[in-house]
């Protein structure tokens, strides 16, 4: 039994000796440390795992194809521009003579000998099938404007090609890096001043006895909680293995006796609850039952406190657990069963670690109820954690 206790104290979270308010502070700080450590670690990934060499080469090839396409388009545009300039000179020259002898095309495969007439009259397509009759100079103006738009198109295409070339060079570089086996080291930047600020914020919150259980901290707490739970699971399995040879019969009994016991207890609790406006966690009620008057008054004070701070700190924790160890194992079992049934609706996420530590302290007898409780509490965390915490914090803000 001594050895077992040792195990439990190791697990105990937060540390037993600390007063509850401080214990929370410690917890927060440790969390901060863990985060920092995680940040400092960073990640190392090889470039080839992120961008395989062949993939990078493929991408580079695709970009090269795109560049070739754009170049073709560019060539076409350049042809248009040269045609346009030729036409401008032609239009400029045509009115020099009254008529020009030309071969007049007749379809695509034939022509007649003929001559151009009215050499200062041009019919220019404006677009969409509309034509305008213009003089040589006016036509030249139109053609020059066309040339300008063509030039702007060429410029934009050139810019595109430049972009694509940069992209291609990047892909080529990536491919080369991947082939050479480069590593990418990535490390999150943690602003020290901001980290310190947040820490001080946390401390402020704690000192004003208002552990704001907003969603974020809830999530963090849940993580931590899950971690602790898994560790405890492991240890309990070990215990089970160690003690199974003399306790096998008892476990079976607990299952059977759960319901009847818990019903009794719940009735008991209702009778004993002295503050009907606040629903109290059943283990606290239980605790009250077993306590002396002196401790009771202290407990009342604490209960107010816990109600105010949405029940996430159990100040009587230490004394409770110490008392419980004195209780007969049967009672402990019953209590656990009761709590497993009645805890979920009341439980807030932040109170869980406390509760578990209590559990862990009470002893090895509570295997089944413990598991049950964990499942149900986890469900409630996911469902009610955020919903429950919000109104209380708002209330707190109003009071401030």
């Amino acid at each position: 039994m001594e050895g077992y206790k040792c195990n439990c104290t190791k697990l105990y979270w937060p540390p037993k000796k600390l007063p509850p308010s401080l214990s929370l502070a410690v917890k927060q700080e440790r969390k901060g440390e863990a985060k920092m450590e995680k940040g400092i670690k960073g990640t190392v990934t090889s470039v080839s795992s992120m961008y395989p060499a062949e993939e990078a080469q493929k991408a580079a090839k695709r970009v090269q194809d795109a560049i070739a396409e754009k170049q073709e388009e560019l060539e076409r545009l350049r042809d248009f521009i040269s045609d346009n300039t030729n036409l401008v000179t032609l239009v400029q020259r045509l009115p020099d003579q009254l008529q020009h002898d030309i071969m007049v095309p007749f379809g695509k495969a034939a022509f007649f000998p003929g001559r151009l007439k009215h050499t200062n009259e041009f019919l220019v397509l404006l677009g969409d099938g509309y034509y305008a009759e213009r003089t040589s100079i006016q036509t030249m103006e139109i053609l020059k404007r066309r040339g300008k738009t063509l030039q702007s198109q060429v410029d934009s295409l050139n810019a595109m090609v430049e972009d694509l070339k940069a992209e291609a060079s990047f892909f080529d570089a990536t491919a080369a890096e991947a082939a050479e086996g480069f590593l990418e080291i990535r490390e999150d930047y943690v602003d020290e001043s901001s980290a310190r600020e947040s820490e001080s914020d946390l401390l402020k919150q704690i000192s004003s006895s208002s552990p704001e259980a907003d969603n974020k901290t809830n999530a963090l707490e849940d993580e931590e909680f899950a971690r602790i739970m898994s560790r405890m699971d492991e240890l309990e399995k070990e215990e089970l293995a160690a003690e199974s040879y003399n306790e096998t019969g008892e476990h079976e009994e607990t299952d059977v006796s759960l319901d009847s016991f818990s019903d009794q207890i719940s009735l008991h609790q209702v009778k004993n609850s002295e503050e009907p406006e606040f629903r109290k966690p059943p283990d606290q009620a239980k605790y009250k039952n077993t306590m002396s008057e002196e401790v009771k008054s202290r407990h009342h004070h604490h209960q107010d406190f816990t109600n105010r701070s949405q029940g996430n700190i159990f100040p009587g924790n230490v004394s409770t657990s110490s008392q419980k160890t004195l209780m007969p194992p049967e009672m402990d079992k019953v209590q656990a069963a009761a709590s497993s049934r009645h805890e979920p609706p009341l439980q807030t996420s932040t109170s869980k670690p406390e509760f578990d530590s209590q559990k862990a302290f009470t002893g090895s007898i509570v295997e089944h109820p413990y598991n049950l409780e964990r499942n149900s509490s986890e469900q409630t965390v996911s469902k009610s954690g955020s919903q429950r915490s919000k109104p209380v914090s708002r209330f707190k803000m109003q009071r401030k």
Binding site: V91, F106, F111, F112, V124, Y131
Partner: protein, 152 residues
């Protein structure tokens, strides 16, 4: 055995993709060109027939100078027409001569089209033929059994 079959199938596929399909595309492009020629000459024939019917001796048209800029042009004598006979040569014809030539040319073009159509069909047939063979090799099934399976 398996790798040998895979290699075979791969070679067949390469043949289809690298040889037959480009050939097919090329043949289709050639045929389209001939179609265009045919259209040009049929247009020309119709135009000349129009001129004959209306007994037009002089003509005023608009000449495209490029970039959709047109200028008026006068044709004083339409009796003589220069027709493209290929390789950049143009022959001076009268209307009847031109029509004669055009009909000959059209005949030749239609023959060419027929040839290309046959070529395209045969390439398509080859492509279609290769696939069952590939399947046959892939499943290592004898030809007569395979044919039987297909017919059934």
């Amino acid at each position: 055995m398996d790798s040998f079959r895979q290699e075979k199938v791969q070679r067949f596929e390469e043949f289809v993709d690298g040889r037959l399909k480009p050939d097919l595309v090329h043949a289709i492009a050639e045929r389209d060109k001939v179609f265009e020629q045919q259209k040009i000459f049929s247009d020309l024939r119709r135009n000349i027939e129009n001129l004959e019917k209306n007994s037009v001796t002089s003509l005023r048209t608009l000449v495209n100078l490029g970039s959709e800029v047109y200028m008026q042009a006068d044709v004083p004598d339409t009796k003589r027409i220069f027709v493209d006979v290929g390789l950049g040569f143009h022959v001076e014809f009268t209307w009847s001569e031109a029509l004669n030539y055009i009909s000959l040319r059209e005949e030749k073009l239609s023959r060419q089209i027929e040839e290309y159509t046959h070529l395209i069909a045969s390439i398509k047939a080859q492509i279609k033929l290769v696939f069952p063979f590939m399947a046959m090799i892939f499943y290592s099934c004898p030809l007569h059994l395979f044919c039987k399976q297909i017919t059934e």
